[in-house]
Symmetry: C3
């Protein structure tokens, strides 16, 4: 298996920017795998403004649901694949009526099988606020937390990014 990384952080914490720098440190042919679906104008603006800054270096792939398959395909032609982000992917899985736990197990297996590419997973830490009022939000943050724990065990390097600066939870210090 390649040396995979998990990059956690809050909203606008600079986690994607850090993941990009991490990717470009070793990549010859990096891919950016976006799980976002640009469903509304607010989202479309975000996606496009991010894309412009990245287009020079990364091939962009879009896959909102079938992440493991997309990773296997991308790993055939790219040496680093940045997945942005897992929380949106979980949200898309729920929207599509998929079994999240099963999809995460499949992703975990896929990561251990990908030998010749480095996978960098970006995800939102959403569990550090007040308990949400509605049950769906509580379920979502439970799923996100459980997913992060499971993937943190598999990844070699795990970072928690605050204000653009990474704290190393596991593995190699960065920056």
């Amino acid at each position: 298996m390649g040396r995979h990384a998990l990059v956690l952080g809050g909203a606008r914490s600079g986690k994607t920017g850090f993941a990009e720098r991490l990717a470009l440190r070793t990549a010859h042919k990096p891919a950016y795998l976006a799980t976002a679906e640009a469903l509304d104008a607010e989202m479309r603006d975000r996606v496009e403004s991010h894309q412009r800054g990245r287009a020079e270096h990364f091939t962009t792939i879009e896959e909102p649901v079938a992440l493991s398959g997309a990773l296997i395909a991308a790993a055939a032609t790219h040496d680093v694949i940045l997945v942005d982000c897992l929380t949106l992917w979980i949200s898309n899985l729920l929207g599509a009526g998929e079994d999240v736990a099963q999809a995460v197990d499949e992703l975990a297996t896929t990561l251990t099988q990908i030998q010749h590419a480095k996978i960098i997973l970006v995800s939102n830490e959403v569990g550090l606020g007040i308990v949400p009022d509605n049950k769906l939000a509580r379920m979502f943050r439970d799923l996100a937390g459980a997913t992060h724990q499971q993937l943190a065990q598999i990844c070699d390097d795990v970072y928690f990014v605050v204000a653009g600066l990474p704290m190393t939870l596991k593995g190699e210090r960065a920056e």
Copy 2:
């Protein structure tokens, strides 16, 4: 006083799992002191699924409100007591109309008096989201934050757990 620890983390951050590993590292007769009251089905499911994994190693004690008394009693027959969790305890105190600040002062005194057992306190960090709309939630997170600060000064080791991985805020590095 024994070498006490405070383990902070978000929802499904793996804080309890880490606290259990920490407890089992030194414990001969560990107790798990649950502050949860299984009032509804969702909560009962959580409590029971956690209990199954732990039953092999820990004696389970349940005490939603009178924490200091329960700790003193448990310390007579156990060498490590894991308290899970303080935020639920604060919530129970509020529900019972108790004075939270006074109960936390009492807990702080109790901790310094317990000499022959190690107390591991688990608590939810809830103050890192957007300011909640309702006043009760704001009061709750203020109480939780103040409690964490006060107990962090007393405890020898303080950890902040993200994705199952501890960052050491104070004291001995773990894992």
Copy 3:
């Protein structure tokens, strides 16, 4: 430019207390620049209870909006200026219909120009909970996060405070 610091943390995380200790370590004539406007009773209580503890050491200055100008003025007569806090300042800027990005650019420039005083910026980390329902709250946490990233690049020392204990994100270890 002086050695400036950014201190991030959640609600009641002890970030202001840590920033005060940091200030008093080197200051001969420290100022406390409050961005809070005591608009309601709840806020007034908070502001006053904090002020009492600090009055002995710090000169208090109040400026809810025109932060850069107030810093330049204060730097003429104080060697350390603690700004508490940036999230409230952003909130005040929005309330006054000001351009937040422009005001933050101006603050960044001001920081690099202040040579003979140390500026310590305190701010709330608000991006680690569930995505807020309302658009204004989402915009606010995006602005806060972007501001933290921008200022973290300029500041020499950046800390993330949990339970009164600082984690060093950048620069000199403290405590």
